[in-house]
Symmetry: C2
Subunit: 185 residues, 2 copies
DNA sequence: ATGTCTGCAAAGGCTTTGCATCCGT
DNA sequence: ACGGATGCAAAGCCTTTGCAGACAT
């Protein structure tokens, strides 16, 4: 098998925010099932500003992830700033400071992180997963030519409405990807 | 190389509709850069209702795709009804009627079809591309447990706003994927 | 001391490519 | 005859897995 069966753990609380990042001032339209408004998106339990190893350790601990040297290095790459990186890019970054980290460990750790909601997996291109270190609800802009991923500001794009979910299913998340290309190709 | 460099041909006309499928009655909110309204989404040049080989041939011709036996079979699988199928599923369907079609031909043809905008590629899961035979602008609902893809009705979810595109880039499309899971796992 | 994590290499799945062959025009 | 499409198999890429050894608590 190439990848775990298409299934990831439930996001638990904080799901509804995904529907309306920054919907605060949008007027209700003719759509009856408007979503409630949220002021402060319930971001991940911990993240960002983990420049130091101490921060990274705290971040991992509070997510219930056993702390190891490699995980600290990976966390520092991810959480020192908001980034969008592929697994191999992360591996390369980690290797700059710790050449002793294997690719398999990076891949396994990234999957663990995403299960613990420390990062978000973006399926922006079928051939590689992009890891987003920002876990609060937001949308994305993807440059198909450069492969670059950028977060969209809350006020750039909003979603309106509540889709009718099939019976027996629960909302997991909503992905919005704005794809752009370079002009004149 | 595993896949063509991340780039597909420009969609050309009909791009803007992607922003607002069914936005007809949405009131303008505080967002200054609202999108204009479109009544009839400019669907693909041809598609659907291609039950007969004759229909499939007409469909291919008007898309500028040279007609071959295999392409007719693939078109019939795709355009007899709105479907969401992986390349291998399409290959299997084609083989039921024409066991003489190779997997490589199906993969190559599907890429050709998507370049000609006869089908749309959905990156719903990083491990396989799902081909959507409906090319008019619409959003998707994805069951992460079953792998099932469903179209969202226009009135179920709407997008509001125009993202600020990076300089030198052109909007290509907007993907919205609502991910659900089966209850109680 | 025990359980877990790591590293390495090999497997695995989906997709693409190369090349000879076959077909339509 | 010629250009292009097909088939087959092999290559390729990203990701996962298995297992022995190392580590933390």
């Amino acid at each position: 098998m190439r990848r775990r069966p298409v299934a990831r753990p439930a996001a638990g609380a904080g799901m509804e925010e995904l529907l309306t990042p920054g919907l605060d001032r949008v007027q209700h339209s003719d759509m009856d099932q408007m979503n409630p408004t949220f002021d402060a998106p319930a971001a991940a339990p911990t993240a960002m500003k983990a420049y130091s190893s101490a921060d990274a350790i705290a971040c991992l601990r509070s997510a219930g992830v056993p702390v190891t040297h490699q995980r600290i290095e990976i966390a520092r790459v991810l959480f020192s700033a908001p980034v969008h990186l592929s697994a191999d890019q992360i591996w390369a970054s980690v290797r700059e400071h710790s050449p002793d980290v294997s690719r398999a460990t990076v891949y396994n750790t990234l999957r663990l992180f995403s299960e613990k909601h420390l990062v978000r997996e973006l399926f922006v291109d079928p051939q590689r997963i992009v890891y987003d270190s920002t876990t609060s609800p937001h949308f994305h802009l993807y440059n198909m030519d450069t492969g670059e991923v950028r977060d969209l500001a809350d006020d750039e794009l909003r979603i309106l409405g509540t889709p009718r979910l099939p019976e027996g299913t629960v909302l997991q998340e909503i992905d919005v990807i704005v794809r752009v290309r370079n002009r004149h190709d």
